[in-house]
Subunit: 150 residues, 6 copies
C-alpha cells in the first residue's frame, strides 16, 4: 500500500461521484461555530426568538453546514488540492436543525485544463443531504487539482 496516494486531476471524469460519511449537527457545533465566526444571530443563538420564526426553533448557520460539508470523512484518498478557487451558486434550500445528521454527495460536473500544465480545474456539484434524504444545501465548488503528468 502506497501511503502517498492522492487523487489527481487525471483521476476524475465527468460523472464521477462519491458520498462522504455522516455527522450529526449538535447544539455544540452551532455554539462553537458562532464562537469562531462571531455570528451570534438570534436565528441560531436565541431559542426564545427562534420560537417566533417559521422554523420554530434554532437552526444551524448556513455556513456551518457548508463548512461541515468540507470536512466530512471520505472513503478515498485525499484530493491533491492546489487551491479552492471558489463557489458557484450555493443555495441554502432547507434549514439544518439541531440533531439532523448530514452527509455530502459530490459529483464532477465539469473539468478543464488550464494554461499551466501541472494543474487542472475540476468543478464538483456538492449536495448536503440530511437523514431524511432531503437536499438541504446545494452548489458547486471549483477546485484546482495537481496533475500527475506535468
Amino acid at each position: 500500500m502506497n501511503s502517498e496516494d492522492k487523487l489527481y486531476f487525471e483521476d476524475f471524469e465527468i460523472g464521477w461521484e462519491a458520498v462522504t460519511g455522516s455527522r450529526t449537527v449538535t447544539e455544540a457545533d452551532i455554539v462553537n461555530f458562532a464562537g469562531v465566526s462571531g455570528d451570534f444571530n438570534p436565528l441560531h443563538m436565541d431559542e426564545e426568538f427562534a420560537k417566533t420564526t417559521p422554523f420554530g426553533r434554532r437552526i444551524a448557520h448556513g455556513l456551518l453546514g457548508m463548512s461541515i460539508g468540507t470536512g466530512l470523512p471520505r472513503n478515498h484518498p485525499p484530493l491533491a488540492i492546489l487551491a479552492f478557487l471558489g463557489i458557484r451558486e450555493w443555495n441554502f434550500k432547507a434549514p439544518i436543525f439541531i440533531g439532523d445528521t448530514i452527509h455530502m454527495k459530490y459529483t464532477v460536473v465539469e473539468k478543464r485544463e488550464t494554461s499551466k500544465k501541472d494543474r487542472g480545474l475540476v468543478i464538483f456539484k456538492r449536495q448536503i443531504i440530511n437523514q431524511k434524504g432531503e437536499v438541504v444545501q446545494e452548489g458547486q465548488a471549483l477546485l484546482l487539482l495537481l496533475r500527475k503528468q506535468k
Copy 2:
C-alpha cells in the same frame, strides 16, 4: 433610543454600503475552524507541507474567511433577516495568512420584491479585504429581509 431597531428591506437601496470592524485571523482561528468543520487539509494544518506550496506557509481555510466575514462587528443595527438564501459567485482571490487582519465591505447590488408582501430579497456584494487593502475574497450574498410594512 429604541432597542427594537433593525434594518428592514425598506432601509436599503442599490449602492448602500457599509464596512465592518476588523479582526486579526490567528493560528487559533484556523485550529478551531478545523475542529468545527473537520477539515484538516495540510494546506491549513501542516506547516512542513505548507512550506512546499507556492504560499510557503499555512493559509486559512477559504470558508473560515467567509465565516468570519459574516460575524465581524457592524456599526449599525442588525438586519431583520428572515433567511440567508444563498451565495452567488464566491471567489477566493488571495490567501489569508495567520496574522492578517480582515474586514468586510458590503454593498447592495440588487433588490427585489417577492410574491410575499412581508419580505424582500436584497443582494449584497461582499468583499473581504486585508490590512493591505487587497480584496482576498469576493462574492454575493442573497438575503431575505423582513419588510416594515406588510
Copy 3:
C-alpha cells in the same frame, strides 16, 4: 452612512439606556467556559452533585453570565472604549440554568470628566435579565471612553 461611527463620552447622559439582543445559554457554553477558565467546579460540571444542591441541576458559572453580557449583540455603534476600568458591586442574584435566554439592559448612572481632556468616565448599571424578566445578575461597569472634542 459613515462606517467610522462610534459612541463617545459626549454621546451619553445620565439615564441613557439600551438593551442588547438575547442569547440562550447552552450546556456547550458552560463546557466551553470551563475549558477557557479552568473552573470545573461540580456546581457547573457534575450533574449528580448538582442534583443534591438547592438548584437541583447544573448552573452556569457566574462569570459566564457576566462574560456573555459583555458580548451580546447591540443595536447601536460600538463604544469608543479606551479602557474597562473595573466593576463595582456585582451581585449574582439568581442562577442561570441551561436553556435560559438572557439579555442585558444597561443604563448610564454616572458620568465624570477626568484630568485628561481626551477621555471621560462613564458608569453603566448592567442588568442581566432572563426570559422570565428576572434580573439574575446586576452591577456596575466603569468604562473610560474617548471624547470627540479633545
Copy 4:
C-alpha cells in the same frame, strides 16, 4: 487520605492566604474567550487597531483574566462553596498581554455568620499577579461556604 475533604467556613480565619499555580495567557485563550463571550472588541481581536492604542498590541479581555483567576490550580482541597454571591470593587489595574503568566493570591479579609446555621460568608481579596510580580487585577469575591457543624 479522606477523599471527601473540602474546606469549610470554619477552616478560614481573617488573614488566611494562599496562592494558586500559574498559567500563561495565550492568543488562543483570547480567541476562545471571544468565542464564548461574543466580545470581539478590537482591543482584543484586531492587531492593526491595537497598534494604535497606548498598549501597542492586543490585550486580554479583563473578564478573561478574572475567569482564569477562578480556575487556576490550587494546592488545597476545593472549597465547600454553596454560592458565589458577588464581586466587590474589582479593578483592572494593568493589561494582561499575550504571553504573560498569571497566578492569583487570595486572602480572607472578612468572615460573617449568617442567619442560616449551615453556612457562612467569607470574603476573599483576590489579586491577579503577573510574572513580574505586578498586580494586574484586584478585588473582592463574596463566597457562601458550608459549615461543618450545622
Copy 5:
C-alpha cells in the same frame, strides 16, 4: 499554609489511594474532543449510525475518557511530576455515554527508585468509574516524580 506543597516520590507508598472529583461527560465534550483530535468516527459523531450499533447511541471516544481522567479535580496538592512516561494495559471496558458522570480512583501499585537520585518511578492503577459505580476504563500510568531529598 505553604503554597509550595506538592506530592513527591517519598509521599507515596504502595496502596496509597485517592479519588478525584466528578464530571458529567456531555455532547459538547465529545464534539470538542473530535475537534481537537480530528477523530470524527461515526461511533461518536453520527447518531443515525450509532442507533444501528449494539450501544444504540453515540458513545464518547475512549481517549476522551482517559483525557478527562487526567484532568479531574483532585483534593490534594499537585504531584511533582517530572514526566508522564507511559501507559500500561489500558482497557476500555464499557462505553461512556452522553450524560454519564465519571470520576477516577487511583492507587499506587508499584514504586521504584531509579539510577538518578533526584527522581523515582511511581505506578498508579487508574480506574474511571461512572455514576453507577461501574469501572468503565482501567489501566496503569507510569509517572516519574521528583524526590524531596536529592
Copy 6:
C-alpha cells in the same frame, strides 16, 4: 466507486502498514486540549515554570499526541471498527513541542479470531513520528473489527 467501502478484519494481515497525513501541533491545540481534559499542569500551560524544566519550554500533553494520532487524515477507507478495546504498553518517548509536525505509522502486529464469528481482533503498532523522523510516542492499539463474512 463504492462509497460503502470500509476495511474489515479480512483486509489486514500481519505486516500491513500505512502512514497518516501530518499535522502541526500548535499552542492552540494545547490550550484546547487543556480545556477539554481539564489538565492544566504547568508543564503544558505555564511558560515560566516550563523554562525551569529540562525541556526549557512548554510541551504538549502526552494524551494530546495520542489523541491527534487517532484523528490524523488517512488515505484509505475507514476501518470497520466495532470497538476500541484498549492500549498496550504506550510509551511517551520524547516530548512534542509547539510547532512540531507529527504523523502516525501503524503496522499490524497481531491478528486473532474471536469466539464471535462476525468480528476479529487486530493489534496495530502505532508510532507517532515528528518532522525529524523521531518516534516520540509508541505503543499498541487493540481494535475489534467487523468481518465481511459472518
